[in-house]
């Protein structure tokens, strides 16, 4: 699998897939919908799918001495690698914000969602949605990327709007916790977000195996 991942990184990927990882640092921005950072990271990955399609990447991969399902696995591994790198940047930003800048006025006077552990969990949900809707949708044809991406954009923005506004609902104020306030709930939210990411990614990958096996290249 190392070889197929290397192939994804060196031949299939777009430079933008790597550059857009830096949008993970948007978690530092005050007064900004930070989850858009996660969304922008996925735009970079989408660009990679577009570049790969133009380079006949899937057909090329199908000629390599690997099983057809390993082509699917390679794509998911690459996508998850990019998402993990961005997640690490976001996590770094969150750690700094809940420790060094926990009392920063700039961050506290923010009508939008605070970049805390709940936000990090929601970033996982955005990544999971991308894997479920876009990557899974791509493998229905191994060619068409427009429709699954548009569906993903709509769903992702609805989730972002919901997540950014949720802490204004009475009783859910703890979702906007600063520093280590409500740390137990924050950790549960992060774990829940990560679990949703895993679930959507694994189920999407399994569905993609079956669909890709039936496709004529």
């Amino acid at each position: 699998m190392r070889n197929i991942l290397r192939k994804e990184m060196r031949l299939s990927a777009s430079v933008l897939s790597y550059l857009f990882i830096l949008f993970g640092l948007m978690f530092f921005l005050p007064g900004y919908p930070v989850l858009c950072g996660a969304f922008f990271v996925t735009i970079g990955i989408f660009q990679g799918f577009q570049t790969a399609r133009e380079a006949n990447d899937i057909v090329f991969s199908s000629l390599l001495p690997i099983a057809k399902r390993d082509i699917v696995k390679g794509k998911y591994m690459f996508v998850c690698l990019i998402e993990s790198c961005a997640f690490l940047l976001m996590a770094l930003a969150v750690i700094i914000r809940i420790t060094v800048f926990s009392d920063s006025v700039v961050y506290r006077s923010n009508a939008l969602m605070n970049a805390n552990l709940f936000a990090l969990g929601m970033a996982c949900v955005i990544f999971g949605l991308f894997n479920w809707i876009f990557v899974g949708g791509f493998f229905k044809t191994a060619y068409k990327i427009g429709r699954p991406f548009v569906v993903y954009i709509i769903v992702a923005f609805l989730v972002i709007i919901l997540a950014e506004a949720l802490h204004h609902v009475p009783g859910l104020e703890m979702l906007n916790a600063f520093g280590t306030d409500d740390i137990a709930i924050q950790l549960i939210m992060l774990a829940a977000g990560f679990f949703i990411f895993l679930l959507m990614t694994v189920l999407s990958c399994m569905r993609a195996y079956k669909q890709f096996e039936r496709i004529d290249l």
Binding site: N3, R6, K7, R10, L11, E54, A55, N56, D57, V59, F60, S62, L63, L64, P65, I66, A67, K68, D70, E213, R214, I215, D216, L217
Partner: protein
């Protein structure tokens, strides 16, 4: 010994159908797969490599079914197509550096040798190559990992007569060293020059699969070249 076997392959499209394609490839021989454009050559070859999903039928290599042994079998076979280029803006060298890691049997000396034979500049990108050179690059990738079976879709299309001749010479050398070569073409003279066996497909149906000498004996009329024979069979729609 039959090294690759296709049995009762069926694939239906709205306007075309592969009808119960069956044939075997004998080890250490060159088999030419002939038929006019649209006869079903590429569809058959893609089905042999699980690139298209047949409605029914089986493909076996080295006595094992392809499905379920895909990765192992692909290590022992080489495939090349003359019509598609991969990663048009990547250097040939970079593509090769990735591909060779997939093969334990990658032969760097053979690769360097084919670079020389085909006069390929590995610093170039596929975008900078002519169609003929792209064919050679694909072929080089298939040859450099010591394939036991080479499956080549239209490898001589787009090549100049000199390169075609060189390539047919390479096929003969490979055959003499025990490699099985299976190549599709609509250039009958290529078959005439180097093939041992012929598989002739027309309208999605195998018309003949036999040694070239038997084909000529069975189908040719006195004074006819192989090309004349195939043209007559196609023109008359004759089926055996």
């Amino acid at each position: 010994m039959v090294i690759a076997e296709v049995q009762d392959l069926v694939k239906s499209y709205s306007s075309f159908e592969l009808k119960n394609i069956s044939f075997g490839l004998e080890s250490g021989r060159i088999t030419g797969f002939i038929g006019r454009n649209g006869a079903g050559k590429t569809t058959t070859i893609k089905a042999m490599l699980n690139m298209i999903h047949p409605d029914s039928g089986t493909v076996r290599y080295f006595g094992k079914p392809f499905l379920g042994n895909e990765a192992d079998i692909k290590k022992r076979i080489g495939y090349s197509t003359g019509t598609v280029s991969w990663y048009p803006r990547k250097k040939i060298r970079d593509i090769v550096n990735i591909v060779k890691r997939f093969y334990d049997t990658w032969d760097e000396a053979a690769y360097r040798n084919y670079l020389d034979i085909f006069a390929i500049d590995e610093i170039k990108t596929p975008l900078e190559l002519s169609e003929g050179m792209k064919v050679k690059v694909n072929l080089m990738l298939a040859l450099a990992h010591k394939s036991e079976v080479l499956i080549l879709d239209e490898p001589t299309s787009g090549l100049d007569p000199f390169s075609r001749n060189e390539l047919l010479g390479v096929f003969t050398k490979l055959r003499n060293s025990g490699v099985t070569v299976f190549f599709s073409t609509h250039i009958i003279s290529d078959i005439e020059k180097c093939a041992d066996d012929i598989i002739y497909i027309s309208k999605g149906q195998i018309i003949a699969a036999m040694p070239k000498a038997d084909f000529i004996r069975q189908y040719s009329e006195p004074g006819e070249t192989l090309e004349d024979t195939v043209l007559r069979l196609e023109g008359g729609g004759a089926h055996a």
